[in-house]
Symmetry: D2
Subunit: 344 residues, 4 copies
């Protein structure tokens, strides 16, 4: 059993990691850290773990880490300080945050803070598993992708790589459940303020935008500038992305399907919906699946791709464990091989 | 007091009309019809009206109508048979359904049924109040717009009429609460099937598409072919539309704001949000307002317009009463002049 | 038009007062106060009031009040300082908080703070309108009842006053929507923490307990000691109380119905459900109604009373305005005479 | 690997069985039956199982069953016909329905239909695992308890068996998520009719009442007649029961705690909450746990017990698999040993 430590274990990504890793056949959780709840029993912070998780939270201090694998689930800006060449010599790191996902320049521009780990940015493998397995397998540091980004890139890369859509026309309309906003209190996520309502946020300014653009560049070898609009949906979990792009000349429905099948046929966690069936977040909740569906709008010659993930699983902790499995040589689907739960 | 009859009073649009008309200063509800609940007390069909509405449902039979004003809230295909020149001689009609909203050709193509009232299509005034007051004032028959259509047209017409956006690039991503699907039972609107989940539906095929296109043609004098994708959101009420369009050369934020102000400055039910504030369905629920907001995505030269209505009010029954007020010469805002209810 | 001032206008009770008073035929809102948002436009604190409410928040300072009627919607402990004999000479006061609801001794025991307005406690009329109209009519100061209390007392008083149930066996199981917890941020009302979950709180210790007991004593002239357990339900509005009590010997269903009819037959806002129909919060939401229903459990000789109100209306702001109408000699139902909104 | 067949696999209990059994280490699902969807791919009925469950539904015909273990998840009245001595000779049966839970007399009185398997009623083991392991271990037929019943009996039996409460004063106020009502369409579970609302149902007449009473008699050896009131809560999963009973003389908090510890200390799926912590459905969702908490209301000498389960897991399919594990000699917690999922 490999030892696992989680920095930032009391956020939602952290507690989802705890849940999944607790039942994982190859690892054992040995450390849970939390700045806010240091010295407190984890099961008092999260009563659903009562009588199961018997650890006290320790400080968010990288010097305390004693583990084969370290997950970091902290707000941006922390990991770039915590992850050092020294740390990487003693432990493999999977950063669930944003610090190692995008280029130094984009990070400074969109996150508006200094990056303290520039020398490690090149080394970090971008953890979009289906597209980067080889690099992840050999990585000491993996940057786990953003939630909207995962759903968007899995949908977009095959289309662009195969030259099926006009890369200047891409619009991503994203919808997310409220867990995406985390556990920190805010008026916008106070129950009575967001229940029974819907809103857009971060219009033309959301930080997942450059991450999607750089991911397309990296994996489809094509620069793009796209519009991305996230929305908050009154539900706990789930991301739905509705992606619009103009079709290139002569592209057929079969071309689209072939492109998806080409890249995802053997992937355990991507399901291409049959013709006429549209992805829904309900059908992936509690699982690590990404469901992808599409319709050609023949009147306008546009493609509409609708894709769904569970933002806490495929969009965060599930994908992080998928990355761990690849890095450590475990069975690829170990610990995350669940059917979706329905209804939940 | 004018006498009002409602055909199809036991659907959600019908019962919202009952609620609003009951308190309206100029009218009195004298007939409520329902095929399914004929002879049953209305308050047994809708217990919230207990001890207030003391009418028995009558059959959906146009011959029984004895009213100055008739609201029709029936599925499409009924009104085109019910509304005849003879009927219009004795009563003013506001049809909340689709039969008189679009052209004969579009109706046959998108609704796939015969239209039996072709001779009245020209006479019918399209009830998008802010854009058609003169015709509505003199009409005997008004076609109340669709819910998504109302929100979309109010957002789009000023932009196109003023030549601010490229009409070939319009994409409407719509999100609706579940009341939009009505009271008829279906698996997709069974509580546990749609709660905590999100989906797209009617992708590239929703019937509000031609209605939006014809509305733009009618009021902005510009043909368009656009993509419209509706989504179901786990909440009772509210529509949010996120509209994307490429800006024409040189168009500024101020140009957009001026266009909206030009047409809506004096409109009682359209509110243009201040710079930096984005419309949310929570802020209009229970009211007849349409809130419109926008952001220029300068990286892509696209405009993103986010607008919100209460689909049962401005998107259906509220707008129907607004139409009645205009037709009958009542005060324009009578009976629908509420502040939104928050939180509700 | 009488002038109205609201102290604490930016809480949920405050904003519901704003909504209702804005459309009230006899009053005009002239002052809105808020400690947290002083000097800020009210419509920036509550965007649903945009372009309608054009007031800046002033400080929560009683010296600034210039009004015929003052509503206080502050946390407990404030009103007992603010309301003085001098204040009552220039304005009528309706306190939506707890300070003037219960006896000095009970207040100290259950609220655990000093009461600074003891000399006014006797003068304050308890604002359970159906049971105290005469005193309210002549009052300068009215204590608006608690939400659970309103629903519980309206259900209990007729039964106890008529000697139908054993007063030693009363158990009240209350369920409330989340608006009851107010707008202050807390982990328990963070969307993702309370959505899709249910819990009890304040078990055997909720402060509405002594208020219910004193209300029974006041209006049914009978001391009681009862068990009250509130629960939080994942919805915005609504209170449902399920009340259990052993029937006294020989009491029949008709006796129960007669008791309710005796006291509520002519009350505009209490509806006794027909035999076989059970009250639901859906059927009262958005209105000032209290729906009361009951079933005799013959196997156990217990009575089960199920009652529903909208906690923001009948349970708070609606009842406060009902009190104002009585105090000021306005029409009793003015400004709160709505049908429930369904579905909302 | 033992072969498992599910009769009635397309209801919610059925599909939860499919999810859990699919990952169970000791069994393989070989047959899924459904009258309504016979010959249809299971993954078309439940798209969350797409690309995972590759079985066609067969008819609900007991003659087709070829399995070591049969789960029956049909409405009441079917199992009593299907389960015969001949069937039990070839397969072990776990009936998730009501047919073998209660006595012949109670069944006829409360379910109002004939029972066709009277000769097997004595043989059937009542599957409340914590209280009946020995009989379940040797059973050919297990009756899986009702959802409310499970939560109620686990809470009540220790108290009554140890003589701590007055058995004539028991009141159970139950609250359930909407999955408890199943997948069959009905107005009361139409999204917009039950969302944002709360109601009681089956007041003084719910069929789980005699099952609770008989369970207390069976395991605590004490006849009781109690009041049970179920309520519908707008959420998918979860049951909370709030149980009231008068304390017997001299009973202390420690006595209550000792009673629970005595019977549940070594039980893997019952957690007694620490003093001051109250059970919430959020903390058990997705798991097989029953959390039990209690408060003494010293003013009234009443005990309030608040307990929570996931109705689809511990209240149905999870408990059914727990029963299977015991019957088959598998590891007791195999396939159901999950941490709760939070937030979900």
């Amino acid at each position: 059993m490999k030892k696992v430590s989680i920095l930032g274990a009391t956020g939602y990504v952290g507690t989802e990691l705890v849940r999944l890793l607790h039942n994982h056949p190859n690892v054992e959780i040995t450390q849970l850290s939390s700045h806010s709840y240091s010295e407190k029993l984890y099961s008092e912070v999260y009563p659903h773990t009562y009588e199961v998780i018997d650890l006290k939270c320790i400080e968010d201090n990288p010097n305390l880490i004693d583990a084969d694998i370290l997950f970091i689930a902290l707000p941006h800006g922390f990991a770039s300080k915590i992850v050092t060449p020294e740390l990487l010599e003693k432990t493999k790191v999977i950063d669930a945050g944003a610090d190692f996902r995008i280029s130094y320049e984009a990070y400074k521009e969109w996150y508006k803070v200094e990056h303290f780990g520039q020398q490690l940015l090149d080394e970090a493998a971008y953890g979009l598993v289906e597209w980067n397995k080889e690099k992840i397998r050999n990585a000491r540091l993996v940057a786990n992708p953003g939630c909207y980004v995962t759903c968007s890139l899995l949908s977009l890369i095959p289309l662009i790589k195969e030259g099926l859509v006009d890369e200047n026309t891409i619009i991503i309309d994203g919808k997310s459940g409220v867990t995406g906003a985390g556990r920190a209190l805010a008026l916008g996520t106070h129950y009575t303020e967001c229940n029974e309502g819907m809103k857009a946020y971060g219009v033309a300014s959301h930080r997942h935008t450059p991450e999607i653009e750089e991911g397309v560049k990296l994996f489809a070898n094509q620069g793009v500038t796209l519009t991305f609009t996230p929305h908050l949906v009154p539900m706990n979990r789930g991301i739905l992305t509705t992606i619009y792009a103009n079709l290139n000349d002569g592209v057929t429905e079969q071309n689209i399907r072939d492109a998806y099948e080409k890249y995802y046929r053997d992937e355990p966690f991507v399901r291409i919906k049959k013709d006429g069936e549209i992805a829904q977040t309900q059908w992936v909740k509690g699982s690590n699946y990404c469901d992808i569906s599409f319709v050609l709008d023949k009147r306008t010659n546009r493609l509409v791709v609708v894709s769904a993930i569970d933002n806490m699983m495929k969009g965060a902790s599930g994908q992080a464990i998928h990355n761990m499995n690849i890095m450590m040589g475990f069975e690829e689907t170990a610990g995350i091989n669940f059917l979706p739960i329905f209804p939940v």
